[in-house]
């Protein structure tokens, strides 16, 4: 049995007087023990909401959560709040996008690490301090004893994210969710942090859900990849098949829009035309259809079903792209003038 089985997860934000927002709309994927699973998609497709729903961190009011999320067979979405609170930080942990705002500014790093140790492992005093220093050391923070006494504003960006990682892995969780952990950092630091995460999960046997809009990150890290679009997983596959033969036109578009070193000089990137604002509701057909170079009238006959191939590839498309077509589709995708910058370089500005 998989460690985490997410089935038809749906999150709807409902404010009085406004139309409900279906931020996540039937997301299913599984994570096996120790596996690294990527959740990829452009900004606003529901990646963060999915992870917050799994952690039980969404607001209680004005939010409706449906579906199932079985962790070790127990449904995270229906379990009592106190049980979930016991699991958070010990069985499952999370790291966030912006390390500065994610750390409490008026409390020393040390206490922010030891409070987890105390809560879940009952450690106090000097042993807790020592363990905290060891943790900082493990995540590559030099001179950990001194750093424990410092405040978040005294650390560099990369160091802060390392500290947050230390807090997250302090109790050796079985599942770690990383929500765009590197987007707020500069490129060299990004690579170091990814390397650190990769090492840690391998050492501890922790399963990792890596949330990103950067396929480059996924390529170097993930065993399984789920591509999300407008609140649904539109394609799921192991890394190799996904990169070698993407099936959903959106995945094909995403791949076509990342810069490649081996591309001929001067070749243009191929952004996906249009923007999420062009989406139609899933109930009316494929949400991606208006931006899709591959669409036919069939695409507008209700939501496309999830198709499972015998190789473990799953996609939600009535007109999947076949191997030799990949090139053609990425070429076709460049035809209309893009109104919006492409998905992969799109707004991190919200940080």
């Amino acid at each position: 049995m998989a460690l985490l089985e997410v089935e038809d997860l749906a999150v709807t934000f409902q404010r009085k007087g406004t139309a409900p927002v279906h931020a996540v709309d039937g997301v299913s994927f599984t994570v096996a023990e120790g596996q690294v699973v990527g959740l990829v998609g452009e900004s606003g497709c529901g990646k963060s909401v999915t992870s917050l729903a799994l952690m039980g961190l969404l607001a209680k009011r004005g939010v409706k959560v449906g579906g199932k999320a079985l962790f070790d067979g127990n449904d995270l979405l229906t379990m009592p709040g106190s049980t979930l609170r016991d699991m958070r930080g010990s069985e499952m942990a999370m790291i966030f996008q912006d390390p500065l705002s994610s750390l409490n500014p008026v409390i020393p790093i040390g206490l922010q690490v030891t409070e987890v140790l105390k809560r879940h492992r009952g450690m106090k005093g000097e042993p807790a301090e020592k363990e905290a220093a060891d943790l900082l050391d493990r995540v590559g923070i030099p001179d950990p004893r001194r750093r424990l006494k410092e405040y978040p504003h005294q650390l560099s960006g990369g160091m802060r994210q390392r500290a947050l990682i230390a807090m997250a892995v302090a109790c050796r969780p079985r599942l770690l969710i990383a929500d765009e952990p590197t987007t707020a950092l500069d490129v060299t630091i990004q690579a170091q942090i990814l390397e650190l995460l990769k090492e840690l999960v391998a050492q501890q046997g922790t399963a990792l859900i890596m949330i990103t809009h950067d396929l480059g990150v996924v390529a170097g890290l993930c065993d399984e990849i789920n591509v999300m679009y407008a609140g649904r997983v539109v394609e799921g596959a192991a890394r190799r098949p996904l990169f070698a033969s993407p099936t959903h036109p959106y995945s094909v578009g995403l791949l076509g829009s990342i810069p490649r070193l081996d591309a001929p000089r001067g070749e243009k990137l191929k952004p996906i035309p249009g923007s999420v604002r062009d989406n139609i509701a899933w109930a009316d057909g494929c949400a991606f259809a208006p931006r899709c170079a591959h669409r036919t009238d069939e695409c507008l006959d209700g939501p496309p079903a999830l198709v499972q191939t015998y190789t473990g590839h799953a996609y939600r498309c009535v007109n999947p792209v076949t191997g030799d077509e990949v090139e053609a589709v990425t070429a076709a995708a460049t035809l209309p003038a893009p109104s919006i910058v492409d998905a992969t370089t799109d707004s991190d500005g919200e940080a």
């Binding site: 961190l57 609170r85 699991m87 930080g89 999370m94 912006d98 705002s101 008026v106 504003h153 807090m167």
Partner: protein, 334 residues
């Protein structure tokens, strides 16, 4: 840190100098003079001039001001026109009453205001929140004077639950140690004297607390609402910390930062609010003495008291700034 304190105290000198000039000019431009309060309305002009001369008010203003400053550098504020006692002594005798009143009022405002503001924020958008916001608006609008009279009329006069005036019943035998009546009772272990003094403090303190209470409620509420949406609170929740830890260590601690600053400013403001409250409850503090001094044009008392209050105000805010730098490590005083 020490250098910071010294610098702030040195800044006090020009501030006080400016204040003294403004005050002096303002007081002497007020119509009427101390002789009007001392003499009968039918007194002759010659008699008036005689009294003015005796008080040294016939000399040019610049000379009078020079004399004031000369005394001031020796920490002498002159004698009261009405009582003839040195202003310092008058202040020393009355200030403890006002401090007691201000402290109790501030304790009431803080102890009621912070929890209420916090609860309102947690119940954001519900009835309790709405009631708190409206109620606190009322607290700001009602004049202290009026609230004092209402409280006195209902709880002292009609219901008789509280005394209506004074600091302590005369028949309580109390030994004086510090002029802080509540503290004296504790020091001498005369518990009933202490309680009696506290009892006299309740109504005036509530009247005085109304404005700071309302402001603290609103500031706490706004601040907690903001902090609840912060990423680090989500991180704390993601760590699975107990609700009380999240609330205390991560939410309240951060939410208190702006509230602490406002508490400093409000405490200074209370000293002026005390003028009204003390008058209503015939409370022998500096407030009621100042009120009489104004109508008597008792220049030395007015100059002296206001200057001392200014110094205290600055000291309170210095203390707040220092405590702020302890509470928020990002702010380091230099």
């Amino acid at each position: 840190m020490l250098r910071y304190i010294v610098r702030r105290l040195l800044q006090l000198v020009p501030t006080l100098f400016g204040l003294s000039i403004l005050l002096f000019a303002w007081l002497h431009s007020l119509p009427g003079g101390p002789e009007a309060a001392m003499l009968d309305v039918r007194a002759t002009d010659a008699k008036r001039a005689e009294v003015r001369a005796a008080l040294g008010l016939d000399e040019p203003l610049i000379v009078q001001y020079g004399r004031f400053m000369k005394r001031l550098v020796r920490f002498d504020l002159g004698d009261s026109f009405t009582t003839g006692t040195p202003v310092m002594e008058e202040f020393g005798r009355r200030f403890p009453a006002t401090v007691e009143l201000t402290v109790v009022a501030m304790i009431i405002a803080i102890c009621a205001g912070i929890p209420l503001g916090y609860l309102a924020a947690r119940r954001h958008g519900r009835i309790f929140d709405g009631l708190t916001v409206t109620g606190s608006l009322l607290g700001i609008c009602i004049p202290i004077f009026f609230l004092g009279f209402i409280l006195k009329a209902i709880f002292a006069v009609k219901l008789g639950w509280f005394p209506s005036l004074g600091r302590q019943d005369v028949d309580v035998n109390a030994t004086r140690v510090t002029e802080f009546y509540v503290l004296d009772g504790i020091l001498t272990q005369e518990w009933d004297a202490s309680l009696n003094a506290l009892w006299h403090l309740i109504l005036p303190a509530i009247a005085l607390a109304s404005i700071p209470f309302a402001i603290i409620v609103r500031m706490t509420r706004a601040s907690v609402l903001e902090v609840l949406g912060e990423d680090y609170v989500r991180t704390a929740e993601a760590k699975g910390l107990r609700e009380n830890t999240v609330r205390g260590r991560h939410v309240l601690r951060n939410a208190m930062l702006p509230v602490v600053t406002s508490i400093g400013l409000l405490t200074g403001g209370l000293l002026s609010g005390a003028v009204l409250t003390e008058t209503v409850f015939v409370f022998g503090g500096i407030g009621s003495f100042l009120a009489t001094a104004i109508s008597n044009r008792d220049y030395p008392v007015l100059m002296g008291f206001i200057m001392i209050i200014a110094v205290i105000y600055v000291l309170i805010n210095l203390a707040v700034d220092l405590s702020y730098s302890v509470l928020d490590p990002r702010v380091r005083v230099r």
